[in-house]
């Protein structure tokens, strides 16, 4: 169990949080304009990296806020935590 530094509450146990999958996938503004393939790309395709991964997390048993983290999936080291809407940091 790792510790996550919630940008609103501070450091808390992983069990207070819920993982929300890959970060920076933006819902298309005009879904109706997309082909089946383009829509499927948004809907289904996700990366599964061994190494540096950008992820969404929700402090579900705390402030309920969503935010992003950068995690090395090979050792669970969290390189950065940043609020929604912020640019991903360089790591």
């Amino acid at each position: 169990m790792f510790l996550i530094n919630c940008p609103f509450c501070g450091e808390r146990e992983q069990s207070e949080f819920k993982a929300g999958g890959e970060a920076h996938i933006v819902r298309p503004k005009q879904p109706t304009e997309l082909s089946d393939d383009e829509w499927a790309e948004y809907l289904f395709m996700r990366k599964n990296i061994k190494g540096i991964q950008f992820e969404r997390w929700n402090h579900i048993h705390g402030c309920r806020k969503w935010f992003n983290i950068v995690r090395d999936t090979s050792n669970d080291e969290i390189k950065a935590v940043y609020k929604m809407g912020k640019k991903p940091p360089l790591v």
Partner: protein
């Protein structure tokens, strides 16, 4: 047999307090401070179990948690019995009862022992090869394998003991209270760190504590005495908490560790009442110092597993700690100096040593010189090639080793003995370190794996870090601690150390024999009966990866995880395959380091505390009125209310009839309720529901269907517009938390520009639903100042009102198809309002109904239940609910997916009604639906999702999903059941009042 082998006062023995215990039903005596193993050895009992595969007699081999053989069952009590306990870790107490495991019918006469003589037939992978075929025989094989394997008995009654969980936060956690751990803990605590020191044993000091000769000195004192002073000092430190009998089971990432603290296992049963037995400690440490020491290696030669063969260090511990001689004619076999430490201890205690057999040809140390002074015969450059004795060793055959160590030469010499101590050097205990994600490196000079890179803020110190001798430990620890703790000084600088040991070692993984390997039994994994022969066979058969060899031969797969023999397995694989040890890697050590009881794992979460549950404000009323309850998510919901002799079916039929004929009342408080406010609330609802919301007038209600982005139905419920910018949404009971989470997700991450605020208010209200033709009359009595005329209060509308002084929200909405009202009041008024409704409804036979009747009533109307009639593969179109999907709206969650090539296919599973040809036959929910019984293979078209006998229609009704079902109206289908096939006809899913007349009656 019953000899007394107690020699001289052992360090931890209280000879004034004698303790009686039973082993295999026979009474023995030991002393307070004994382990079960030491007490048995003092009574000359070596044979304690049988091996797993060949059922060979096995004896106590070690003095610690690495024990592979002495696995016992404690107590025959049906509630308190404990299986797979290591005799070396059990502290004896008055009344202790232990029995051997893995032997049937008894340890001295074991039928499975015959496997031993058939052992050429039981090579590596035997189980895989033999019992694979024929498959139909497996049940028979399994019976015999399980019967003879005997891995202990489970208790058959609830555990009476108390267990608990505790969180601990500390600056520094030190694991292991040997000399390194003591020095580390003292340094950390004195430097201001809040420190926790844990050790699995009842006493502090590890193995140095009994090092009591002038051959090993620290600052001119015998090392044991020096350490004792250190221990007395740390006990006074305020910053330091010490926990003994505490074994670290798991070392996870981010310095999160689990440990088991045993509090009363050493006490007689009658003294344990009302005390916590074991605690699971969940430790978060800023820094971890691992000082877990090292484990002595056995040596691998023919018949190296007989009772009476122990690790040399264990013989020393039994003598020093417990004053027990493991034998009267001892022989030591070694490839390094540490067996001579054992020899010194035995000499000091007056225990006879017949001979020492040393693999090394030239040896030279002060320690050996001391032993030689006592006229003990040392065979230099020799090895043991075989042993004799069945239930206990009675002799060894030794031969000279060739120069390269690959062969034995010369003639055999037979020596008699009753105990053989073996020492193959030491293996650093890196298990916890690797669990934490640490990477190892191989040190060629003495063939050990040591820590290389640390994944978190931690270090290993002492012999678990490869510092295997006293002088090296002292030399390195000060520097390591200063760096790790970022401090300037420790108490351990410029310390004088005297170690009389020489570090030379002659490492031979598999000692040579005068016989070919096929004719020998050199055991590597004692618990799983894997021999060197098995490993070589696996390699010949093409296995290369250490993980594969492990599984094929089962080496290291016992409850001891191969703590003794894993290194030899690696060594033999390395030599045979020509791969370097460092490149071979090790197998993965997984938590727990030593087994945990189930009690420790679950702690207090047993019985009614196993999982939390939620009760509605009306729960007590339901209980008092004989309700049966159903679990819905975490909620306890009233299921049905049986009267006197009614069964469930009868109760539900009665409730359903009453609701349609006069009046029913339902506790709907569990429905999820989300308060939605903000200037963009309408726009937000437009985006999350499939239908349009902008034009919903204030005071009106609307049913909404929510999809996932993939177009599949996610949740449904009625939402009411309370004000210009204010709505209250209801969700399904089970979906409440997820819907809230999903809506928050979209608001925070996709549409942060929307001015919308969500609050979960599920628990704030009691929700009471009154339905049926007489519901209007009842509500008019309960809320007399509310105008219930259709003009003022039509179906799908809402009013604020009050019941006496209690404010309430009333909705005229229906999930049963009947004229009905839903009253929402502040939760704590729920019961009084419910009772008012009951009182007002008495003349109308108002009938409380539970979830089962609710499900039946809605099924008559063909209303879906999300999660029962849908399963995350159903679109609204599949549900024949096209009417609720807005064509005009540009976008909503899931819209684009509704015209993906897959979702517009005609042959998707679609919701239909099913009527049985025999109206009294009720289908089973979940039953498969087919069209053609003769087609092979049978094509499954779908399944039954809801099924009831309707007392209002006097026939069986069902809903189901059927491939292409929309176009099958009137068609015959078959429900194949175990005993017969049931014929059904596909129908409209709405069975009752399709015109919705009853809503306004």
């Amino acid at each position: 047999m019953s000899k007394n082998l107690r020699v001289k006062k052992g360090k931890f023995i209280d000879e004034t307090s004698r303790v009686s215990f039973k082993f295999n039903r026979k009474k023995f005596y030991g002393f307070k401070g004994d382990t079960l193993a030491s007490a048995l050895l003092a009574n000359n009992v070596h044979l304690v179990g049988r091996s797993f595969k060949y059922h060979r007699p096995r004896g106590i081999m070690t003095a610690g948690s690495e024990e592979p053989n002495a696995i016992v069952q404690l107590h025959n009590d049906s509630s308190r019995t404990d299986a797979n306990v290591r005799a070396t870790e059990v502290e004896i107490y008055e009344g202790l009862e232990a029995t051997s495991q893995n032997c049937w019918p008894s340890v001295n006469f074991d039928i499975g022992g015959i496997n031993n003589f058939f052992s050429p037939l039981l090579p590596a992978g035997f189980y895989y090869k033999t019992f694979m075929w024929p498959a139909s025989f497996w049940e028979k094989y399994e019976y015999f394998i399980r019967k003879s394997a005997g891995l202990g008995k489970s208790p058959t009654r609830p555990d009476p003991d108390i267990y608990e969980h505790r969180y601990i936060h500390c600056d520094v956690l030190v694991i292991g209270a040997g000399i390194s751990g003591i020095m580390a803990a003292k340094t950390a605590a004195k430097s201001g760190f809040k420190t926790l020191l844990v050790d699995e044993k009842p006493n502090l000091g590890g193995s140095t504590i009994y090092q009591d000769t002038n051959l090993f000195k620290i600052n001119n004192q015998n090392s044991g005495s020096w350490l004792e002073k250190e221990i007395n000092e740390i006990k006074k430190l305020k910053n330091l908490e010490i926990k003994t009998r505490t074994s670290v089971a798991a070392f996870h990432g981010y310095n999160f560790l689990l440990a088991r603290e045993s509090l009363i296992d050493h006490l007689p049963i009658e003294q344990r009442k009302n005390k916590t037995r074991q605690r699971l400690l969940k430790i978060r440490a800023k820094k971890v110092i691992t000082a877990t020491g090292s484990i002595e290696r056995p040596l691998i030669f023919d018949n190296n597993d007989r009772p009476g063969i122990l690790l040399s260090s264990a013989i020393k511990k039994y003598a020093d700690f417990f004053g027990v001689a493991c034998g009267e004619k001892n022989i030591l076999l070694t490839n390094n100096d540490s067996a001579y430490e054992t020899a010194i201890s035995l000499i000091q205690k007056g225990i006879n040593i017949e001979a020492i057999i040393d693999n090394r040809e030239s040896i030279d140390s002060k320690l050996i010189y001391e032993v030689e002074k006592n006229n003990i015969k040392i065979f230099k450059g020799f090895t043991v090639v075989n042993t004799s004795g069945y239930k206990k060793i009675n002799g060894v055959s030794i031969m000279e080793l060739s120069k390269d160590g690959q062969k034995v030469i010369g003639s055999k010499i037979n020596l008699s003995c009753d105990c053989l101590g073996i020492s193959g050097g030491w293996t650093p205990a890196v298990h916890l370190f690797t669990q934490s994600g640490g990477k190892l490196q191989f040190r060629d000079e003495d063939q050990v794996f040591i820590p290389k890179t640390y994944p978190s803020d931690q270090i290993s110190v002492g012999s678990c870090n490869g510092d295997l001798e006293l002088d090296k430990i002292i030399l390195n620890i000060s520097k390591s601690l200063k760096e790790f703790l970022n401090i300037k000084k420790t108490d351990y600088e410029n310390i004088e150390v005297l170690s009389s040991m020489n570090k030379s070692k002659r490492n031979i993984w598999l000692l040579p024999s005068d016989k070919i390997i096929g004719k020998t039994k050199p055991f590597i994994d004692y618990q799983n009966d894997a021999t060197a022969k098995d490993i070589k066979l696996a390699l010949r058969e093409g296995f290369r990866s250490i993980e594969h060899v492990k599984r094929y031969t089962t080496t290291g797969m016992g409850t001891d995880q191969g703590k003794l023999g894993n290194m030899h397995a690696l060594g033999i694989i390395s030599e045979t395959s020509g791969t370097k040890m460092g490149e071979l890697g090790t197998t993965t050590f997984r938590p727990p380091y030593t087994p945990l009881t189930f009690g420790t794992i679950v702690g207090r979460n047993v019985g009614e505390y196993f999982d939390i549950f939620r009760k509605t404000p009306l729960h007590d009323w339901h209980t008092n009125n004989n309700a049966e309850f159903e679990n819905v998510g975490q909620w306890k919901r009233a299921w049905y209310y049986p009267k006197k002799d009614e069964n469930m079916h009868q109760a539900v039929q009665r409730e359903s009839k009453a609701a349609r004929e006069s009046a029913g009342i339902l506790d709907a408080s569990t429905l999820g309720k989300i308060d939605i406010q903000g200037t963009d609330a309408s726009e937000f609802l437009n985006r999350v529901y499939t239908n349009a919301w902008s034009k919903l007038a204030i005071g009106k209600c609307r049913y909404g269907l929510m999809l996932n982005e993939d177009g599949m139905v996610y949740d449904d419920g009625v939402t009411t517009r309370l004000g210009e910018n204010h709505y209250i949404m209801t969700t399904t009971t089970g979906g409440a938390a997820n819907v809230m989470g999903k809506l928050e997700d979209y608001l925070q991450t996709e549409w942060p520009e929307l001015d919308v605020y969500l609050t979960s208010v599920t628990d704030h209200y009691a929700t009471i639903s009154v339905c049926g033709p007489n519901s209007k009359k009842i509500i008019s009595k309960v809320i007399p100042n509310l105008d219930l005329t259709d003009e003022n209060f039509p179906h799908m509308s809402f009013k604020n009102s009050n019941i006496e002084k209690v404010k309430c929200r009333v909705m005229r909405i229906s999930f049963t198809g009947e004229h009905s009202y839903e009253i929402n009041v502040q939760a704590n008024y729920g019961k009084s309002v419910w009772e008012k409704c009951m009182e007002a409804g008495r003349d109308f036979n108002i009938t409380p109904y539970g979830t089962e009747t609710m499900h039946l009533l809605r099924a008559e109307k063909g209303f879906i239940i999300v999660g029962q009639d849908t399963d995350a593969t159903m679109t609204p179109i599949d549900l024949q609910m096209d009417w609720i999907v807005s064509k005009k709206k540009y976008d909503f969650i899931g819209k684009r997916s509704l015209y993906r090539s897959d979702t517009i296919k005609d042959d998707r599973k679609q919701l239909v009604g099913l009527l049985t040809d025999n109206p009294n036959e009720v289908l089973e929910e979940g039953a498969q639906i087919i069209a053609d019984i003769n087609k092979s293979p049978v094509e499954m078209l779908g399944h039954v999702t809801s099924s009831y006998y309707s007392p209002n229609l006097n026939k069986s009704i069902a809903l189901g999903v059927v491939r292409g079902g929309k176009n099958m109206m009137g068609q015959k289908l078959i429900i194949p059941m175990e005993k017969k096939n049931i014929n059904v006809t596909v129908s409209d899913p709405v069975f009752l009042d399709k015109e919705n007349k009853r809503l306004n009656d």
